[in-house]
């Protein structure tokens, strides 16, 4: 599975994945993830690159009980569409939470976690996952 074990590919994506780099359409206002040169809603090419906020709410979620090979060791785990504070929607894994604790509208915050590993001796691909907000401050 060469595509899974590409180092340049993971490297190229690192900033987008670590920091959630998205786009904002200057024409229709849509904010989206990841960044690309044209707006997925209106097609405008007038798009600016922005770092997305790491706070949001669970819009929809499901529990993956039959995982792709690369995620087998995490089964069962929760994946969700997370709606960030500025309206961008990010597909992400939820972490530090049991499946039966998740609900639509749950407040979550982004943390850096392991996603995929290119085998036991390959590189580790990190990215942002979301988990229930840890209390006691932390407003950014």
């Amino acid at each position: 599975m060469s595509y899974m074990n590409s180092v340049p590919r993971a490297w190229r994506e690192r900033v987008t994945k670590y920091r959630l780099i998205g786009g904002r359409c200057k024409k229709c206002g849509k904010v989206f993830y990841p960044y690309r040169g044209s707006c997925p809603r209106c097609g405008s090419d007038d798009v600016e690159r922005i770092e997305l906020p790491k706070r949001g709410r669970v819009k929809y979620f499901t529990v993956v009980r039959s995982a792709p090979a690369e995620f087998k060791r995490y089964e069962p785990y929760v994946v969700a569409l997370v709606e960030l504070e500025n309206g961008a929607i990010v597909p992400a894994q939820l972490t530090d939470v049991d499946a039966d604790e998740v609900y639509e509208g749950m407040e979550v915050e982004g943390v850096l976690r392991r996603y995929r590993e290119q085998g036991e001796d390959g590189i580790i691909e990190y990215g942002v996952k979301f988990r229930p907000v840890v209390g006691g401050g932390g407003e950014q």
Partner: protein, 346 residues
């Protein structure tokens, strides 16, 4: 704010999962009522010392309120990096937006690496070679299943951002004293998965000799005495050692208890005394003097004296307190613990 450098941001991280020492004792047929601690933290399946470090550093950044790109030094102290070769510091720095004008490196000195990272950052900032420095102590320690270490080997991280001395800081470092000898009380050879230790040899010639050497050295050089400190934090591989060393040095239970967490989180190795310091900072008031003494096998101790600044009141609420992470706990049994630690062959 006379001193070497100031801490303008601090933060910690503890993973969500806990295992009770009594549960480990149950599995190995030992007495569940005579364990060295009550329970310890366990990292989740998608965590490692690097992800712990990221979150501790993020909390420190929230309190420091600076643009991450102004940080010019990142030191990560750990004995459990996800890569044997390839720095954690680069990934953490990239994720936090600190790259690329940056002096970043990983450090290893067993459980001492956290304070060593801090003092190294302090040195560069004090010398004027960097504006801000980020120092992290982080570990997801592993004990061989069945070994005495397994009761206490835990996971956590603490991070500090240092600047030139300033009164709006959290605290200012006024003195430091390090004490190092060649003492093989605990080690892990290249290629070995688990460390080995010298059992009772880890006590007197190692932990006690170095902590006492560093603490006494600092107090002699500065003329400070135990009663000058409101709080004291020692490396905490268990509860017994720091309690005993405090007594021998002349510190009271009241000075010690705020910074002694090993009974409920375990030994977080390079993060152990730094997390104790974080818990002290979560409660300290301006003017309080704090002594922190780390210990790392091999062996060495750093003793650091800090004075809390006025800025603490405003900065403290900008990130979660350690108590939030302590309260956020989910107990797991030994079987799940083995799965989380990757000890089950697949």
């Amino acid at each position: 704010m006379n001193g070497i450098a100031s801490i303008i941001g601090y933060g910690a991280y503890l993973p969500r999962y806990r295992i009770k020492a009594a549960e480990i004792a149950r599995v190995y047929g030992r007495n569940p009522s005579s364990t060295p601690i009550k329970e310890k933290t366990v990292p989740g399946l998608d965590e490692d010392s690097l992800t712990h470090a990221y979150e501790a550093a993020l909390n420190a950044l929230r309190r420091a309120e600076i643009d991450p790109s102004e940080i010019e030094v990142v030191f990560v102290g750990s004995e459990s990096p996800p890569y044997a070769v390839k720095p954690s510091a680069t990934i953490i720095a990239e994720a936090l937006g600190i790259t690329p004008k940056l002096y970043a490196v990983d450090m290893e000195f067993a459980c001492r690496a956290g304070t060593t990272a801090l003092l190294s950052a302090v040195g560069l900032v004090h010398a004027g070679l960097a504006r801000y420095g980020l120092a992290i102590g982080t570990d997801t320690a592993q004990g061989r299943p069945g070994d005495a270490l397994e009761y206490t080997a835990a996971a956590g991280a603490a991070a500090f951002i240092v600047s030139k001395p300033r009164s709006d800081a959290v605290a200012t470092i006024e003195a430091a004293y390090s004490y190092v000898t060649d003492t093989p009380d605990f080690w892990r050879r290249e290629g070995q998965r688990f460390p080995r230790h010298g059992a009772r040899f880890t006590g007197e010639p190692a932990y006690f000799a170095h902590i006492i050497g560093a603490a006494k050295g600092l107090m002699e050089e500065t003329g400070l005495k135990p009663s000058d400190f409101r709080y004291v934090v020692f490396h905490q591989p268990n509860v017994k050692f720091p309690t005993r060393v405090a007594k021998r040095l002349g510190f009271t239970k009241e000075q010690l208890e705020r910074g002694l967490l090993s009974g409920i989180i375990g030994n977080t190795y390079a993060a152990a005394s730094p997390i104790g310091l974080v818990n002290v900072l979560d409660a300290a008031e301006p003017g309080d003097r704090i002594l922190i003494v780390s210990f790392g096998s091999g062996a060495g101790s750093d003793a650091i004296s800090l004075v809390v600044e006025d800025g603490i009141t405003e900065r403290r609420p900008k990130a979660p307190l350690l108590s939030s992470y302590i309260e956020r706990s989910k107990e797991i049994d030994y079987a799940l613990y083995l799965r989380f630690r990757g000890f089950i062959c697949r």
